[in-house]
């Protein structure tokens, strides 16, 4: 299975997987209330039927939160790799397509109209994200070709417009402005198994880009060169953009808009493993998941018993890390 990695790279993946497992246990063990490692093991063994408060905290609050953080981190990182690869732009993050603003508007409408939280709020966010994708995509289609740069401009513009609509909703939201604010800042607070079920839809979309990693590698040399080398560029672009948009919409629909993970994790992965997209995708997925869960750990413990929106935490460590990566002058 790991043949394609090559000998020297295998060790990185084993380390990364170990990091993921370690971060899982750190995140389910630590929190505003203390659960010991041995308790965690016994709760995992006993199943969710436990009556004691720590067991409830573990099964109903902490474990689903860590799982959602893993999935959302994975979504954003994989979407980041795809979009950075397609746009040949290292500053790209999953939010440039405007899908996140569409999803946020969908959620904002759901919040101010008080529709039932699960599953309708995430569903509305998904619909908002997908509609935005369709609009942006139709703008960027010219003579059967998808112009990536027009798509980028359309994405940014529509996302500005939608943000203005969201701002109007916020001003008129009354007390619901709290939920809206936490949404725009990104938060896993109060998320549990129903949201996990929604986030699990992302898993097949994690796999899709791996089948197009070779094409992504070739397209790094430009669309023209890729065409010459026999890549069906339009098809690859269409599939991968849709995949990235769906991943982004799913992530935003369960957690709100969490910054920097989708921007920084692909860079971190490239720095460790080189530019080959198969490896970058796999490593970004792992990094994104682990770092997101660890960020949420900070978010829920640092000012306990209060909580921070996790998007603030990811920005606090993501921004300096990104500057460091830029300064390290390695290949992007």
């Amino acid at each position: 299975m790991t043949k394609w990695l090559g000998k020297g790279r295998k060790v990185y993946f084993l380390l990364a997987l170990a990091f993921l497992v370690l971060s899982f246990f750190i995140c389910v063990t630590l929190g505003p209330t203390s659960i010991s490692f041995s308790e965690v093991i016994s709760y995992l063994g006993e199943g969710a039927s436990t009556d004691d408060p720590s067991g409830t905290i573990f099964w109903q609050i902490r474990l689903p939160r860590v799982i959602i953080a893993f999935l959302v981190g994975g979504c954003l990182s994989v979407a980041g790799v795809i979009l950075q690869g397609l746009l040949l732009n290292p500053l790209t993050d999953p939010y440039v397509t405007g899908v996140s603003s569409g999803a946020a508007l969908g959620a904002a409408i759901g919040i101010v109209t008080h529709i039932p939280q699960v599953p309708w709020l995430p569903a509305l966010a998904l619909v908002g994200g997908m509609l935005t994708l369709i609009i942006v995509y139709s703008f960027a289609r010219r003579r059967g070709k998808l112009n990536i740069f027009i798509m980028l401009l359309a994405g940014v513009t529509i996302s500005q417009l939608l943000s203005a609509v969201i701002a109007v909703l916020m001003l008129k939201a009354g007390r619901d402005v709290h939920q809206l604010l936490y949404w725009l800042l990104g938060s896993f607070s109060g998320r549990s198994w129903p949201e996990v079920q929604i986030a699990l839809f992302a898993v097949p979309f994690f796999v899709v880009p791996f089948f197009y990693a070779r094409e992504l590698n070739i397209m790094l040399q430009g669309e023209q060169r890729a065409l010459e080398l026999g890549v069906d560029v339009e098809r690859v672009k269409k599939i991968l953009l849709a995949d990235a948009a769906i991943l982004t919409a799913i992530a935003v629909s369960v957690s709100g808009i969490i910054g920097f993970i989708g921007l920084v994790m692909p860079h971190l992965a490239r720095l460790v493993i080189g530019p080959d997209h198969r490896k970058v995708l796999a490593l970004s997925l792992i990094f994104g998941a682990a770092v997101m869960a660890l960020s949420d750990l900070v978010a829920r413990t640092i000012i306990a018993p209060s909580e921070l929106p996790v998007g603030i935490v990811t920005t606090f460590f993501g921004a300096p890390l990104f500057v460091y990566l830029l300064r390290s002058r390695r290949r992007f």
Partner: protein, 314 residues
């Protein structure tokens, strides 16, 4: 560019987030250094923002920018002097008839000035800007933002001085104080249950120290779990909620209208309050508006915490 836009959105949002706790009235000093008037007719008080307000004569045209101050005015028999209120002033019913001057966070200062008020009542924080603007236009502004029940009483008396219904204000405060004393003595010797007070559900928010709700819970003979979360109103970890396991769970209306929905939340079945059926919903206007109705709020909370103490006394 995205982050610039996000920043603007957040700034708007942060401003508004401040607004909701402020409806409830947090912050503000409780000093009641009513200076002896230098001339007999001049009225001078120090408001909750620490500013001195001097009026030549009792105010006749008053604009109230908060639901709590509107209720204060009616309580002390000066409702007839209100010429403008905020969009949120909905109690008592007569308040709905009065000219509206805009929202809580964004009152329209042109509209306020056009009503030619000789006194404007405001709260701290989100209304600071309009307060300053009105002061620059030489409109007297009194900031009333009590964070305790006693502070509400002090402010009612101050307001009585400003609008010339001093005696009625004193009588009302005396009645309210008597009601509070009755409740206090009813719960004086009983065990104090722990209480969680939900202000908002997603994210879960509660009332911390220096909030009127904290004072209500304490006076009602309870221990507010939320006071560990710091000052004012803030988010509260669900894990800590389950660990602390409050004896009584109270949510304000608007956050959750039906106690049944609270019981259904993930993990909540582990709470003693859920198992014992001590989950309640209270009218938010009774506990978040720092006006005269906090005494009603106090009574309701006390009855939720100590039903046995009130069965006999009524």
């Amino acid at each position: 560019m995205k982050y610039v836009r996000m920043g603007v959105a957040l700034a708007v949002a942060a401003l508004l987030v401040l607004a909701v706790p402020l409806v409830a009235g947090c912050g503000g000093d409780e000093e009641s250094t009513t200076d002896a008037s230098p001339t007999p007719k001049e009225i001078s008080i120090t408001d909750d923002a620490g500013n001195e307000i001097t009026l030549e004569q009792p105010a006749e045209r008053v604009v109230s920018l908060a639901p709590s101050t509107t209720e204060d005015m009616f309580a002390i028999g000066a409702g007839g002097k209100l010429v403008g209120v905020s969009d949120f002033c909905d109690y008592p019913e007569e308040a709905l008839e009065i000219e509206k001057v805009g929202g809580f966070a964004d009152p329209n200062s042109e509209k306020i000035v056009s009503l030619d008020p000789d006194l404007v009542l405001a709260t701290v924080g989100v209304q600071d800007e309009v307060v300053q603007q009105l002061k620059d236009l030489n409109v007297p502004v009194c900031v009333l933002d009590p964070t305790t029940i006693d502070g509400v009483f002090t402010d009612l008396e101050k307001l009585g001085l400003l609008v010339g219904t001093e005696d009625e204000a004193k009588a009302v405060v005396a009645d309210l104080k008597a009601a509070v004393d009755e409740i206090r003595s009813a719960v004086a010797d009983v065990d104090k249950p722990t209480v969680f007070f939900e202000i908002y559900s997603k994210p879960l928010m509660t009332a911390g120290k220096n909030s009127i709700i904290d004072d209500i819970v304490t006076q009602a003979g309870g221990v507010n779990i939320g006071s560990a979360s710091g000052e004012g109103y803030g988010e509260f970890s669900e894990e800590v909620l389950i660990k602390d396991d409050p004896d009584v769970y109270i949510a304000v209306k608007g956050s959750q209208d039906d106690p049944g929905d609270i019981v259904k939340r993930p993990g909540y079945d582990a709470l003693s309050a859920v198992q014992n059926g001590t989950v309640y919903v209270i009218d938010d206007n009774l506990v978040t508006r720092s006006g005269p109705r906090v005494v009603e709020g106090l009574r309701e909370v006390a009855m939720m915490l100590h039903p046995e103490a009130f069965e006999t006394s009524q």
